[in-house]
């Protein structure tokens, strides 16, 4: 892993929703590798590369808060959009929020701070002009300068992530003793978009505040 990067991300709130509890969202205890990948991609990504998360350092105690919001329960029906396109009129194309109202609670993380350790692999879409050094350079330049494609978020977009590049060793975990070594159960690793968006899970465990992430196709990863 000659081209590893370390990025510190923090924020006041975070919601890494558990796949099994997504109507009333409940966050995992720590950031998922999938969310970490999304953060790196928000800073730099091209089809030529794919980010691989190696480790996630948890720097702050795991705390939760609950928030209930009015949401709408449906998505935009594409058939209606097509109908409006055909008719050439949009007046019937709308969602009345009050008719679709759902109140949903979200159990979210409070005051989070992580260091993501990751590297990238080149994909078969890489052209002759792509070399790892170039992408590594682009990423570090952007991360160090606070540049991003879009502001990365901690799970959902209302919880923006502050980020900074880490050079040297990640800071020591600030987790209390009883949270440092912890079995986190089965956790979403990532979505395998190449294979019909199969969710992949792994047995997550914190060892001295660090979550080590297996490769996407490791034998211990289940779909």
């Amino acid at each position: 892993m000659s081209f590893g990067v370390k990025l510190r991300v923090s924020g006041q709130y975070a919601c890494f929703a558990r796949a099994e509890m997504k109507v009333e969202r409940v966050s995992y205890d720590v950031m998922t590798p999938s969310a970490a990948r999304g953060i790196l991609e928000a800073i730099h990504w091209k089809p030529a590369i794919t980010w691989v998360i190696d480790r996630i350092h948890v720097l702050k105690p795991i705390r939760f808060q609950s928030i209930r919001r009015n949401e709408v329960g449906s998505r935009i029906p594409v058939a209606n959009v097509r109908k409006a396109m055909k008719a050439g009129a949009v007046q019937d194309l709308r969602m009345i929020a009050e008719h679709e109202r759902q109140q949903r609670a979200a159990t979210i993380l409070y005051d989070v701070d992580y260091v993501i350790e990751a590297h990238f692999d080149m994909t078969d879409q890489a052209g002759p002009q792509d070399n790892p050094a170039k992408h590594h350079e682009m990423f570090t330049r952007r991360a160090a300068g606070g540049q991003c494609f879009h502001q990365p978020c901690l799970g959902t977009r209302e919880f923006p992530a502050a980020f900074e590049l880490v050079s040297g060793d990640p800071p020591r975990t600030g987790l209390p003793d009883d949270q440092r070594d912890r079995d986190l159960g089965w956790m979403l690793l990532d979505i395998d978009h190449a294979n019909d968006r199969t969710p992949l899970f792994f047995r997550a465990a914190l060892k001295d505040g660090v979550l080590t992430v297996p490769p996407l196709h490791a034998p211990e990863v289940r779909s």
Partner: protein
Amino acid sequence: MTALQNSAIQNRYEFVFLFDVTRGNPNGDPDAGNLPRLDPETNHGLVTDVCLKRKVRNFIGMFHNGEPGLGIYVQEGAILNEKHRKAFEAVRPDDEKVRTSAKLSPKSGDEEAAVRRFMCDNFFDVRSFGAVMSTGINCGQVRGPVQFAFAQSVEPVLPLEISITRMAATTEGEVKEAKDGEDGRRDNRTMGRKHIIPYGLYRGHGYISAKLAERTGFGEEDLERLWAALEQMFDHDRSAARGEMGSRRLILFRHDSALGNAPAPGLFDRVKVRRAFQGETYDLNSPGTHNLPPARSFADYAVDIDRDGLPAGVQIIERL
């Protein structure tokens, strides 16, 4: 293509938005009987991102009703006085074949893109905040360039419960019961309650990605409309529950480049809100501020913008 083809914005922005509430409830918590939202650990008041986006939508819907390209997709039931909208050119006539094929193919991928394009071109809220559209293939998802975080009050707030009475009854039964009452008073009043915050200054942060704007076609004019909405939206959202709300400051950080020229958190730190008392200002967390009388108006706060050593390529614009 449609009439609306404005070119996307070229600059990344962050903004700090300060608004206040006087004797009102800026955002009720459905989990707490509509009490103003609070951070349970700090007692700072909260206003959710979706609450602010709702007001932006309502403002745009109210002021640009019926204008091409400025539809609001997610509407509140109240604004149904929809006028006749001008017809517009459809992006592409409907294709029957696409509807039947379930598998992802370049053909349906194009269709999906056309549907997305159509929604972005016609609806301001889809173009700014994004939307999720369900197709048979995938969630055709539009990620909007404008991102709001939760707004939070600068100091802890104190929610009050105010009991109120109504000099009328809901049902006839209630009236009768009251008449038969022993005290002889013809009392058919109903008790209700209101939750208010005597005063709270809230601070919201927002982000605008030029790169995502490129994809949805969020242009300079849209940006101007968004700022106008933030400046004026509370003036058109008066209600019994809200009390007096108003936009106080809107401070933009404009980056020269699309990717940005400096990290956002450092820019936000440049806007400092301080307590003002008898001509002096105090750091909000400094010891002794709890000895000051509670803030009851915007004049009890001072807003400082630190312009020293501003990163190259970042410009501070004070809209309000």
